[in-house]
């Protein structure tokens, strides 16, 4: 049996606010002072197809990235993915032999609110962080994914969140149920230094597979 669920986090708008933030920290000014920077970060939650068995939830439906760590060549906006919780209330013998769950995430391109050119999803990377993986050692976060502007830190991982990337997984569902496991991730949007100022929105979709 394969169960899976998907949550969409209308997430991480790179936005004027981010740029304002940059301004706030004295970075080269691209944003207009005093600009409204209401970043829309929304979450679209699909109905859980098999509620109460193996489920995923997300602590918030939006996150705003703020500028942090930009250089002359690369502007960086960071945030933290709201805590993702995978809850398994099944008994071990209810879990199919060899089953293993995994949560994958992918993002859409960042779309500007004022006709700016979109920022590709390849510019959004993450570094998952396991908050509570239990004590079996059989739940682990996925590897870091860096952006198209970066050199790979693992083979081929400078692709951003274009395709589905691994947030967290278990080796063996049966060995870790019942349980509640939490993970978040550092989010980072890296753009060229000449990115156009403005508000951007992307949707980060998280999917639970087994």
């Amino acid at each position: 049996m394969n169960t899976w669920s998907r949550k969409r986090l209308l997430a991480a708008g790179a936005s004027g606010a981010l740029l304002a933030g940059v301004v706030a920290v004295g970075s080269p000014a691209f944003a207009e002072p005093g600009d409204e920077a209401g970043v829309e970060v929304t979450v679209e939650i699909e109905e859980i197809r098999e509620p109460g068995v193996l489920a995923m939830s997300v602590a918030a439906d939006s996150v705003m990235l703020s500028e942090d760590g930009s250089t002359l060549l690369v502007r960086q906006f960071t945030g933290t993915l709201p805590t993702v919780t995978v809850t398994d209330t099944r008994t071990p013998d209810e879990v199919p032999e060899g089953a293993a769950w995994a949560v994958l995430g992918s993002a859409t391109d960042f779309v500007g609110d004022a006709e700016q050119a979109p920022i590709g999803a390849g510019h959004l990377g993450w570094k998952p962080k396991l908050i509570d993986g239990g004590d079996t050692g059989l739940v682990s976060e996925g590897e870091e994914v860096v952006t198209v502007l970066d050199e790979p830190t693992q083979p081929g991982n400078n692709v951003g969140l274009v395709d589905q990337e691994l947030l967290v997984s278990t080796f063996d569902s049966g060995a870790v149920t019942p349980g509640e496991y939490t993970v978040d991730a550092d989010l980072f949007l890296r753009t060229p230094g000449d990115v156009e100022a403005g508000a951007y929105t992307s949707t980060l979709t998280l999917s639970l597979f087994e």
Binding site: N2, W4, A102, G137, E143, P155, F171, F209
Partner: protein
């Protein structure tokens, strides 16, 4: 008892006889005298003499040993019997072996003749026929069992097994037939050659002896059948009425369970019978418990051709190893003639013919032969003597005793000058342990002070093979107070000669059990077995024994079976064997003296006053009797018994009359026995029991109730041992259901037993055998078990590493040993068990020996020494080989390769052939030997010792982890999931490396996991490698272990989840 008159007078008999027989003997003297006077021999009559004897054996004085009886009735008026009475002839062989000769020395046949078996007047013809005199084609000697029958023409035909002089076959026995007009000869060769041999009438390979003949039917239709054979092969052939010409083919006869030899055919009321000597042995055999003993068994059929149906045993094993039936009806009574070793100075090769009535059970169809009771009955030897072994129960260390031995031989008080199995108890098996024991148990405490033991051997001490006198032995007694075995104190010595009785004296001790513990003789690697013909235990002698007066009631013939014997301050109840008391003796009240023999009291017989009283004379008796309860059984420790317990409930009345005794075990029904002095109650079953009893005298006075608690634990504890996989320490646990475990003991190798207090550490890196056993509180000692502590090969290895290898070979002869290769023993004259050898009927051009180690070892040299007993070029035996080569197992190539750089392979059989070669690391080596040949066949090869030398740095300890690498599909993409489980007992650091990423885990807990799923970002993944580095600490040292896993590839394009 024999009395002889006439020629060839024999010495007087030494055999004891009963008084009742004395009359017959006197009559025999008279009758014999008459015969001697009245019957002067006719000139043509063969030599004979007449004697009278009514007690078996027929010739019992040892003047002539007769064997293999073949009875035949010669009716009155038949040729050779002009008298008015039928005559019974018993034809016999003549055993002429010396007292110490273990072979059948038989040169002639004779016969015994009587007209009245019960009267016992016999005429003996010592020599009626010799092989070489009657049969021109025979050699002298080997005059084995024959049979005489009256033929179709009325003449007498004697079928005998003899050796054919000019026969080329391996077994020259043949059956010839002689003929005579008289039952006493003269005999002439009837066929002029063998009628049966390995060549005629058809070629065969059997032992052609022991013919039996049946002339069946009446008048002109008479048919003649011949059966013969030995060593479990029985054949049958019909002969013509000429008594010699074969008709039809030889048939193989089956259906005779346990048939060995000595067939005897006869017919009764239309049923055909085949009696025979059977030797199917074993604890459950109907025939005999021990090999080399024979019973007489029989089968029936409705036709001479069979089929035969086995009908059981009709004579149990006799005192000679062989047994032989001759069944005949004479004067309306059936008889069994057989033979025994019972004559004076008789033996297995000095047998004597006996005869006893044989009775039929005609209620069955076909009628059955009742078990024959040999006479005279065995009577207790009432000679005063110190030996008390014959009254003991025997237990031995090697139950079940191999069937070539007989535990009863130990205390049967029979010591032969030329003993053969099973005249002894022995222990030989293919693999003999270092220790054996024999134990005697008496029903009551006895005071003992000496031992006489007679060892048997077929090998000298120090050979480590066969049966040899023990290296040392000692006597132990059961210490009744301490509840354990103790060595006899101040022993005079424990001699181990195999010539005669070996004497030991020791301080007198009172005990119920004594044992002899034998440390087997060894050559350093294997042990010989132990065998004992007889073991006597000698009682301490009291200053005197006086029997107390006894009282019995009228008609009471049983007397007390013990009497008090004082040894200083200690008084024991010792068994006494009284002379028989007849009902006439006790018919009326009176007092008389009676004699008896006290077990172990050698000074003489005892006499007691026996008073007979009337049971009815109870007037004025108001005194209650007393009752006592005495347990007997295998006494253990702490008040426990280790067997079922017999409780003797004895009543005693002041008047001396008998009593009624009521007894009860636990909550069971009360049992009442009337007119008794004691009753025995058997208490069985592990646990605690109570026996309660009262006694009532003739006057009705009832004793106070008496009770006895009986605790039984007859079951030994059970222990188990486990060897820790890494530390090699041995943990032993034990359980006992009833009395509880007292302690656990262990011994390493052949070391002393020690009390177990906790896990036993391996003494060093070598392989060891640890023996362990548990003792319960009752004293039941478990039979030792063993567990092997494997060698620790992790350290650096130098020198000869053969002893830590497992040896195997292309072939090993059953008498040789492949473990002799690496037993580190290289004696000058090794026994066959101390070498590896390959002799067999088919000897190939090459043979090999192999050593296997549990890990690859870096080796640099080897040496071995060959063994030979034949010359090169002989093509047989064991010869110096043509050459050999050392090969090693190439793991990567999965093949055997010759070592390189070898310095040259010598083939000496007197010195080690040493070879050095380029170092190679391998877990297996072979020495492949090229046998020497003569052009058509090869000799065998043999090696005394083979060494392999190592120069190995040792093995770094490894961290135990379990790595699992799986290819997975999630959402149409391939992932590599790697799990590492920490099986170590301390945290480890783990690094996982794959083509798709690397992950480091710090301090993974014992039993915990490191897990990472690596993403490929592609729809398929080829098979690859995951490399796991594990770092941690073993025994305080930092260790890094690298483990790789080979995950398979995966193609997720077809994965259903891709659709999502």
């Amino acid at each position: 008892m024999n009395t002889t008159v006439g020629r060839g007078a024999a010495p007087p008999s030494h055999r004891p006889s009963r008084r009742a027989l004395a009359v017959a003997v006197a009559a025999g003297l008279f009758a014999g005298g008459l015969a001697g006077v009245a019957g002067p021999a006719h000139a043509s009559e063969p030599e004979s003499y007449t004697f009278t004897n009514t007690v078996n054996p027929i010739i019992g004085d040892g003047s002539y040993y007769s064997a293999d009886p073949a009875p035949m009735v010669v009716p009155a008026g038949a040729p050779g019997n002009p008298g008015a009475q039928d005559q019974l002839y018993i034809y016999t062989g003549h055993d002429q072996a010396g007292p110490a000769t273990n072979d059948f020395i038989m040169n002639e046949w004779g016969a015994l003749r009587t007209t009245d078996v019960e009267a016992g007047q016999w005429t003996h013809f010592p020599s009626l026929m010799r092989p070489e005199t009657t049969f021109a084609w025979a050699t002298p000697g080997r005059a084995y069992a024959g049979q005489v029958v009256q033929g179709v023409d009325g003449r007498y035909y004697w079928y005998v097994p003899i050796h054919e002089r000019d026969s080329p076959v391996s077994d020259k026995f043949a059956i010839g037939v002689a003929v005579s007009a008289s039952p006493t000869g003269p005999w002439t060769d009837h066929a002029g050659g063998p009628i049966v041999s390995q060549r005629v009438p058809t070629a065969n390979t059997i032992h052609n002896i022991d013919p039996t003949i049946l002339v069946d039917g009446e008048g002109p239709d008479q048919r003649v059948y011949l059966w013969w054979g030995s060593f479990s092969q029985l054949r049958m052939l019909e002969l013509g009425q000429d008594m010699k010409t074969p008709i039809g083919a030889v048939r193989t006869v089956t259906g005779l369970t346990g048939f060995f030899e000595g067939a005897w055919a006869f017919k009764r009321n239309g049923t055909y019978y085949l009696a025979y000597a059977g030797n199917n042995a074993g604890p459950t055999s109907q025939c005999t418990p021990a090999n080399y003993h024979a019973c007489l068994a029989y089968a029936t059929a409705s036709s001479p051709q069979g089929p035969w149906t086995y009908r059981g045993t009709f004579l149990r094993p006799v005192s000679s190893t062989t047994s032989h039936p001759g069944v005949v009806e004479f004067d309306g009574q059936w008889y069994l003639a057989y033979h025994t070793a019972d004559a004076v100075d008789g033996g297995h090769f000095r047998r004597s013919v006996a005869i006893d009535p044989l009775e039929w059970d005609d209620t069955q169809t076909p009628p059955r032969i009742k078990l024959v009771t040999p006479t005279p009955a065995k009577e207790r030897d009432l000679t005063p003597r110190p030996n008390i072994a014959q009254a003991a129960r025997v237990t031995v260390s090697n139950e079940p005793v191999p069937t070539q031995y007989w535990v009863k031989a130990l205390n049967d008080e029979i010591v032969r000058r030329n003993p053969l199995p099973p005249d002894m108890w022995g222990t030989w098996t293919g693999n003999n342990p270092p220790q054996q024991w024999v134990q005697y148990t008496w029903d009551q405490p006895m005071r003992i002070t000496g031992s006489q033991i007679d060892f048997w051997n077929d090998q000298p001490q120090g050979t480590g093979v066969g049966v040899a006198a023990p290296a040392r032995w000692r006597i132990q007694y059961w210490d009744l107070d301490a509840g354990q075995w103790a060595d006899a104190s101040n022993p005079s010595g424990y001699p181990t000669s195999t010539q005669g009785f070996q004497n030991t004296t020791f301080d007198p001790v009172t005990t119920t059990q004594v044992r002899a513990v034998f440390d087997a003789s060894t050559n350093g690697s294997t042990y010989s077995a132990v065998a004992v013909e007889e073991w006597k235990v000698l009682a301490a002698q009291p200053e005197s024994v006086s029997a107390p007066a006894m009282t019995v009631e009228v008609g009471e013939t049983d007397l007390p079976d013990t009497l008090p014997v004082s040894f200083g301050a200690e008084t024991l109840r010792v068994p006494v064997y009284w002379d028989e008391v007849t009902p006439d003796d006790v018919a009326t009240p009176r007092t008389f003296a009676i004699g008896g023999t006290v077990l172990g009291y050698a000074a003489g017989r005892v006499s007691a006053q026996l008073t007979v009283i009337s049971p009815d004379d109870t007037e004025g008796d108001e005194t209650a009797p007393t009752v006592t309860l005495t347990p007997s059984g295998s006494a253990g420790s702490a008040g426990w018994f280790r067997s079922a317990v017999r409780v003797r409930i004895a009543g005693a009345d002041d008047r001396g009359g008998r009593l009624a005794i009521s007894s009860r075990v636990d909550d069971g029904e009360s049992a009442v026995a009337n007119d008794v002095r004691h009753v025995d109650v058997t208490v069985t079953g592990d646990g605690e029991h109570t026996v309660t009893a009262t006694a009532t005298d003739r006057a009705g006075n009832v004793s106070a109730p008496a009770s006895l608690a009986v605790r039984i634990d007859a079951v030994a504890p059970v222990s188990t041992a486990t060897v820790h996989s890494s530390t090699r320490a041995v943990t032993v646990t034990a359980t006992d259901a009833t009395s509880g475990v007292a302690r656990i003991e262990y011994a390493i190798g052949t070391g002393a037993w020690q009390t177990y207090t906790g896990a036993v550490a391996a003494p060093d890196a070598n392989r060891h055998t640890l023996s362990f056993r548990a003792l319960d509180v009752a004293g039941n000692l478990e039979t030792a078990r063993t567990v092997v502590i494997p060698a620790d090969l992790s350290g650096p290895l130098t020198g000869n590493i053969a002893p830590i290898a497992t040896p195997t070979a292309s072939y090993t002869a059953s008498w040789n040993s492949v473990t002799a290769l690496n037993d580190s023993a290289d004696p000058n004259n090794p026994s066959q068990a101390q070498i590896w050898g390959t002799w067999s009927g088919t000897r190939p051009a090459t043979q090999w020996v192999q050593y296997t180690w549990s890990r690859p070892v870096r080796i640099t040299g080897t040496e071995l020494k060959f063994w030979r007993d034949s010359n090169q070029g002989s093509g047989d035996g064991v010869a110096q080989p043509d050459g050999w080569v050392l090969q090693y197992w190439d793991e990567t190539g999965s093949s055997w390769r010759d070592v390189t750089g070898a310095s040259g392979y010598g083939t000496s059989t007197t010195a080690f052939n040493t070879v050095s070669f380029d170092p190679v690391t391998t877990s297996r080596v072979r020495a492949t030997v090229r046998a020497n040949g003569n052009g058509s066949t090869y000799s065998a090869v043999a090696i005394t010792e083979w060494r392999v030398f190592a120069d190995d740095p040792g093995v770094t300890p490894e961290l135990p982890v379990t790595v699992t690498a799986q290819a997975r599909c999630v959402a149409g993409r391939a992932y590599l999931a790697v799990q590492v489980r920490n099986d170590h007992d301390a945290p480890v650091d783990v690094t996982v490396q794959t083509a798709y990423g690397e992950r480091v885990f710090a301090a993974v807990a014992p039993g915990g996991n490191a897990y990472q799923q690596f993403t490929t970002r592609t729809a398929s993944m080829p098979a690859g490698t995951a490399t796991v580095r594990v770092s941690g600490s073993v025994d305080g040292k930092g260790v890094t272990t690298v483990v790789t896993a080979q995950p398979p590839g995966v193609d997720c394009a077809a994965d259903p989840r891709q659709a999502q």
